[in-house]
């Protein structure tokens, strides 16, 4: 089913937002406004944008540390995300997380993790919770090709498949784990094939084509929502910059990178929109200007924000009885329209899901 023109417009805008935001973040890093690690998503926009467009608002999403794009696509406030990158008090995590730990619970974006593959079991747990509460909800978890070599990947896919957890695992295969070609360190570099070890559905998709990603996720989400189990979706993509801002990327040739840039997902969608006469070039250009302004405003907001107070050193360490969760947009922007996850109380909840029949399997030789 082809996406509507509204959805197409939104996907184009979103990819532009991710691209212009990351370009600004790269510049800010260059003048030391952002420090530490900063992993840019430039080139991979179609994966997060196409996938998000195919999901529902209240589906859960997690990823690793290349997370700025995912946080933005879910609807995170660009100013507050940039402020988090700058380590200011107006950031989503009060400046305590930084680039690798963008978290926006209001928009069901659960991070943002620094340990490669650390988010993989978490996603299974969130899918487990959804199934436990009989929710109509899918969890989507992104990670890189190299993360699929972590033990956590294998342990988790086994459980997710066995228990038919409603989780879609998206491998953003950009062919490199930091500086190492994935084929050099993987006996089976075609990641989607690893799903077969768990009798799990494994698919591939062209991750540079936002429409193909969209279709693949529509299909995978339908499968999950029908209770058929998890899906491993391998999206072939490419990052146009290095692994992080500190990476000189000598392990890839200039020719290779320039070749891949001809596959730019934003230009590809733009060409499609123009060819199908859905939107004029002028309109698309104007949107780019608007998005650039949003990103400039984000930089200004971040740069004008204070560092966290030293009083914050000891906060967010322990939940005391009666403590509420922090709602970032309320705290920072005084927003009054923040919706927050609400879970049924333990008295109201009815758990109707049984993993296995209650009677144990009959012993061999029993009558």
């Amino acid at each position: 089913m082809a996406p509507s023109s509204d959805v197409l417009w939104d996907m184009h805008s979103k990819m532009l937002l991710l691209r212009r935001f990351e370009e600004k973040a790269g510049q800010a890093y260059g003048i030391k406004k952002i420090q530490g690690f900063c992993h840019l998503y430039i080139g991979q926009e179609a994966v997060a944008v196409g996938a998000n467009a195919a999901l529902k608002r209240n589906d859960y999403m997690l990823t690793g540390y290349r997370d700025h794009g995912h946080a933005l696509v879910r609807g995170g406030d660009p100013g507050m995300l940039m402020a988090e990158l700058f380590g200011r008090s107006t950031g989503y995590s009060k400046g305590k997380g930084g680039s690798m730990h963008m978290i926006d619970v209001e928009h069901h974006f659960y991070g943002g993790y620094g340990i490669v593959g650390g988010q993989i079991p978490l996603a299974a747990g969130m899918a487990f919770a959804s199934k436990y509460r009989s929710e109509d909800r899918v969890t989507m978890c992104f990670f890189g090709d190299a993360a699929a070599n972590q033990g956590a990947f294998h342990e988790t896919l086994n459980m997710a498949a066995k228990w038919k957890l409603p989780v879609i695992y998206v491998v953003e295969n950009n062919r490199y784990g930091m500086g190492t070609d994935i084929a050099r360190v993987s006996a089976e570099p075609e990641m989607h094939k690893r799903a077969a070890a768990f009798r799990m559905r494994g698919e591939t998709v062209d991750g540079m084509d936002v429409l193909k990603v969209y279709d693949a996720v529509i299909d995978a989400a339908e499968w999950c929502r029908a209770g058929k189990g998890p899906v491993l979706l391998e999206a072939h993509t490419y990052r146009f910059r290095g692994h992080s801002m500190s990476d000189a990327a000598t392990y890839r040739t200039k020719d290779e990178v320039e070749g891949e840039k001809r596959n730019d997902p934003i230009l590809k969608l733009r060409a499609h929109l123009v060819k199908e006469k859905l939107f004029s070039e002028a309109k698309l250009d104007a949107e780019d200007e608007r998005v650039k302004k949003v990103c400039e405003d984000a930089i200004a907001f971040a740069d004008g924000s204070p560092e966290p107070s030293l009083d914050e050193l000891f906060t967010d360490m322990e939940v005391r009885p009666g403590d509420l969760d922090v709602r970032p947009r309320e705290r920072v922007l005084g927003a009054t329209d923040v919706t927050w996850p609400k879970y049924p109380s333990g008295q109201e909840l009815k758990v109707t899901w049984d993993l296995e029949p209650r009677e144990p399997a009959p012993k061999k030789g029993a009558a």
């Binding site: 978290i103 079991p121 969130m126 996850p341 333990g346 899901w353």
Partner: protein
């Protein structure tokens, strides 16, 4: 009051909390159909069904992480580790996710997970299966650590741990499951962060937790009493946050302290408690703080070597006399 075994007390705590709050579920190896490797979860599968009592594959990292994720979205998992030796495999999820998610998210998320299981020597199991590892977790900001020594404390602390919205690590003594004790009837909760005077006294403070209490420290206190030495026994119960007030009040009273723990001596819980006492009660001390630990070696299988490795009544009595200059 009823006389219950340590495992029965834990079983009751689990059943009561699972009854009270349907968000609570138990996951671990052998917890469901096998009724628990140490029978702590006996009968729970029949009562609550296989979504709430889940047999996990042998994937400690995987199912610990699954528990953390479920806790982040409002469930209250109890993750059973068959022993804390095996939980080392899960340390990344506990240390890097459970302990840090609230802070990394700037207070948006919480992780109300309980990770529990047996700890310490199990009786001639050799080095990989005999470790007392509470020091690893006490070291990590963002975790709470409890170590009950009696059935009543086990029940009360597990209930409190399940109701606590922070990640709580519960260290049970592997050889404690069969020990018995009086457990109050009705709703019995022991607050996290409170130590207990298991034997009031005036001459010397003996500080301990978990299996060492009943196996070695209380018998040592009786032996000391026969020699006219009146020992006060402080059971920490919670290792983090530590009940500093109770510990220091006792030392201010007796002027002498011995810390007895099963674990190795270097960078242990006892090392920090000793530091606390030396700094905060220096003027009350009439002798340096003494410590009795498992020897700083790997545990052997041979019965005599294991006996010699673990703290003994004799070593505790000797340490108490040492600080009394007797």
């Amino acid at each position: 009051m009823a006389s219950l075994s340590f495992r029965e007390a834990l079983n009751q705590a689990l059943a009561e909390e699972m009854e009270r709050d349907a968000n609570v579920f138990l996951m671990g190896e052998e917890v469901a159909r096998y009724n628990g490797a140490y029978k702590v979860s006996a009968g729970l599968l029949d009562k609550f069904g296989s979504a709430r009592v889940v047999d996990a594959p042998i994937s400690e990292l995987g199912f610990a992480g699954l528990g953390v994720g479920a806790a982040m979205v409002g469930l209250r998992p109890v993750i059973e580790m068959m022993t804390w030796n095996f939980a080392i495999l899960a340390m990344d999820q506990i240390v890097n996710n459970a302990a840090k998610i609230r802070h990394m998210s700037g207070g948006q998320l919480r992780c109300p997970i309980v990770v529990r299981g047996p700890n310490g020597a199990g009786g001639r199991l050799s080095s990989q299966h005999s470790q007392a590892l509470e020091a690893h977790y006490v070291h990590i900001p963002g975790l709470k650590v409890v170590a009950p020594s009696t059935p009543a404390d086990a029940k009360g602390l597990l209930k409190s741990a399940i109701r606590d919205d922070n990640p709580v690590m519960m260290f049970e003594g592997e050889l404690l499951y069969g020990t018995t004790g009086e457990v109050p009837d009705g709703e019995h909760l022991v607050p996290i962060g409170s130590a207990d005077i298991k034997r009031p006294g005036s001459d010397v403070t003996l500080i301990t937790w978990s299996r060492m209490l009943s196996a070695v420290v209380l018998p040592a206190a009786e032996a000391l009493a026969n020699e006219g030495i009146d020992a006060e026994v402080v059971d920490l119960r919670t290792l983090k946050p530590l009940d500093e007030a109770t510990v220091l009040a006792s030392v201010h009273k007796t002027h002498r302290a011995v810390i007895i723990e099963e674990g190795w001596p270097w960078a242990s819980v006892g090392a920090s408690v000793s530091d606390l006492i030396s700094r905060e009660a220096f003027d009350s001390l009439d002798a340096p703080v003494a410590r009795v630990n498992g020897l700083d070696i790997n545990m052997a299988y041979a019965a005599n070597l294991e006996r010699a490795t673990l703290p003994s009544v004799e070593r505790v009595v000797a340490a108490a006399k040492e600080v009394l200059y007797r």
